[in-house]
Symmetry: C2
Subunit: 154 residues, 2 copies
């Protein structure tokens, strides 16, 4: 089981970055459909999707939002972070099999409420911007290392 | 299997609303953790969560974002909607067992790109605002009724 260490408000520096990569599978999309309740056939039914302008199944836009939120919670600032707000612009569709890279960059720190702003970027395997946005979080006050368990839901 | 009809750009009216309700289960949170990759023990481990300021497991903030995106995609405007952007402010924690109501309200229509702005509100069972925000979508041009299948992921 991996251990994850957070970054406290005092440790964070403007320009600090974190990156994570994930290849999108149909199983991921099924999980997101079940979690969110968005069972739109554009995401789940290849025959339906073939008749849309996309031509094939695409991921839910908010799936990429979930990847951003995971990078904030697991990496930068990591465990102990309190999520205050997020803006997202969905720029390009994400297809099954695309490899997405989430890049977070610290752009502002305000000591009041330990508030930190992070630029959020999701790129596909062609280096194209899929999602752009900005996150507001309250960074942790204390250092912490947590043990991460990743059981399959069942 | 339920059928869902969409609302075209021309049909949508300023002030038009849609609402959906969901009670949050630990299984929902496990699904969202698997889909997003956010396996933070605050969401999944009651013993860990008991030692945090929250005192118990809470849902991922972006879980509520997923509920909003599902309401846009399934109800208003519904199938055929293209998601352009979303802002979210996370105001209160969501606990396991909370019953969340997503309220969408059409606040603006711009014929260019058939762009529609919707006010997004998530309330808990006490009527408190859990998440507020705004969505930008491209509404469908054509009426469509789709059949929704909701298999369990496995």
């Amino acid at each position: 089981m991996p251990e994850v260490r957070n970054h406290t408000f005092d440790e964070l520096t403007i320009g600090q970055q974190a990156e994570s990569t994930r290849t999108v599978t149909m199983e991921d999309i099924r999980l997101f459909a079940a979690a969110s309740g968005d069972h739109n056939p554009l995401h789940l039914d290849p025959a339906y999707a073939a008749g849309t302008p996309f031509g094939e199944c695409i991921a839910h836009g908010m799936f990429s939002g979930g990847l951003i939120s995971a990078a904030l919670a697991m990496q930068l600032p990591g465990p102990g972070t309190i999520y205050l707000g997020q803006s997202l612009a969905f720029r390009l569709p994400v297809k099954i099999g695309d490899t997405l890279t989430v890049q977070l960059t610290v752009t502002d720190k305000q000591p009041r409420r330990r508030q930190v702003t992070l630029d959020c970027l999701v790129l596909n395997q062609h280096g194209k911007k899929v999602v752009t946005g900005s996150a507001e979080v309250m960074a942790p006050a204390e250092r912490e290392t947590v043990t991460i368990e990743t059981p399959k839901p069942g």
